[in-house]
Symmetry: C2
Subunit: 285 residues, 2 copies
């Protein structure tokens, strides 16, 4: 008789209301309760290693490039000289890895509230977390919203690589936070923030892009494909004091790093802002 046990991870999201995503697991690598949340790292059969926080898939080695390249390069190729960059969240290191590819980036601050996320990703996910070793990086283990209040007029680009608006990330989806980001930017600064899927979260996207419209000269919304996220896509709120993501974009700078990119390219930068009618007509950017 031959017997084989099977181990499955199942993501059960309240928002998705009656569907789940199941992934075959080779091994549970870490399961740790930090002061903020449950952090899990799995070795999956189809997607390599996977980071899960409070039961929600944050990233897998297989498709994290799409998410991290698009959150970083769309704003950083829009800004003509992105020298001072702040990342809020992003404790796995994937977003700073992409920001650091820009030769203009002289200083990359990252403010992640949960030091245990950084510690465990450094241990198990080096393809993302080795970026913490770059001398341009300073890690702050603090509350991102509070951190920003103390640094007016400091940054060219702010990237908010957060989890969903429940738990510790809820404050990052408030209007006050968008006002604080505006103040922490220089006069020509700009931001991109994780902002959900237009198939499930039209309400959140409408609210957040509303803050962008109210407080920034150039609001926008763009998206990318990430198969292991609900609905297979995730979007970003873009907001800028001066530069327009299509009119001021510098495609010629892309050539310098294109050999290291798997997903992002200049055509995709432009295309990512073209939205389906049902969400375009709702958010009216």
């Amino acid at each position: 008789m031959s017997v084989e046990s099977q181990l499955w991870f199942e993501e059960i999201l309240e928002i998705s209301n009656g569907h789940t995503f199941k992934i075959k697991i080779n091994d549970v690598i870490e399961r740790f309760d930090s002061p903020f949340q449950r952090i899990e790292i799995y070795d999956t059969k189809p997607f390599g290693k996977m980071l899960v926080i409070d039961g929600v898939i944050m990233c897998t080695e297989w498709d994290e490039h799409s998410y991290h390249e698009m959150i970083a390069h769309v704003p950083m190729f829009t800004h003509p000289r992105p020298e001072n960059v702040l990342v809020i969240g992003g404790g796995d290191g994937g977003t700073i890895r992409e920001a650091l590819r820009h030769p203009e980036a002289r200083r990359v601050d990252i403010c992640e509230i949960d030091g245990d996320v950084v510690r465990l990703c450094k241990k198990h996910l080096p393809s993302m977390s080795s970026s913490f070793e770059d001398p341009r990086v300073t890690l702050y283990t603090e509350d991102g919203a509070r951190f920003m209040k103390d640094r007016p007029g400091t940054y060219d680009v702010i990237l908010v690589d957060s989890s969903d608006p429940i738990g510790p990330a809820a404050v990052l989806f408030s209007e006050e936070f968008y006002i604080d980001m505006k103040n922490a930017l220089k006069d020509d600064g700009l931001i991109a923030t994780q902002c959900e899927s237009f198939f499930y979260h039209g309400d959140i996207i409408e609210r957040i892009t509303g803050y962008a419209k109210k407080h920034f000269a150039v609001p926008g919304y763009y998206y990318t494909v990430v198969p292991t996220y609900p609905s297979g896509i995730i979007g970003y709120c873009f907001a800028s004091k001066k530069y327009h993501p299509l009119k001021d974009f510098s495609p010629e700078r892309v050539d310098a790093i294109r050999g290291r990119l798997k997903y992002y390219n200049a055509d995709l930068h432009r295309a990512a802002f073209a939205l389906p009618s049902f969400i375009r007509d709702r958010i009216k950017l």
Copy 2:
């Protein structure tokens, strides 16, 4: 004591190799073994009614618009006068519904091998299948590959709305079929065919776009977001004898039907051809 039973549909695809998609079901509406395949229709909790063939999700009422609008409108707004249209497969009626929105369409033939798919969709999925009542439509219950061989120089546009290249649809992914489509088109005709996800099927996409490059003056590949398909996206092979999908596209014609579209718009038409670097560099169109 309170007891509630739960019914779940689980899609287990060989290609996806270790992950599944589970959907909560209110009711099993149909389960029928036709001479070709198993046809199931479910009433799902999150996605309305859902058509499943041989265990694979074909469409749900919730997100079918994205798939059907994009397979039909990208080629039909590229062709300046899409009068004679052939749909291969597409027994649910969603693709002909979209083709019929074009005032230029005078004749829409549909060739679906499995009459039971049409019969059951007519019974249970009227939002798609009511399009079969349009007087411009002629339904042929035949093998699509053979059907086309008898009609040289007949069509302006051919749309292949097929299932995956296993079972009865396998022949629709052969080089011979692409040569037959070329022959069934008029001298300025063009096609779009269901052509899988670039996250899972780079090999199929490379092969099929290879046929398009070899046999057509203008090859292309574009994609759309369909959350209930594996990876959340699906792509289409585009191939044309004369018209270019971006240079010859007529965005001014879109306005006439835009009020009836949920997904497609002129910006998205152009954006859909912008591919991630990893697949763009592989298929080199």
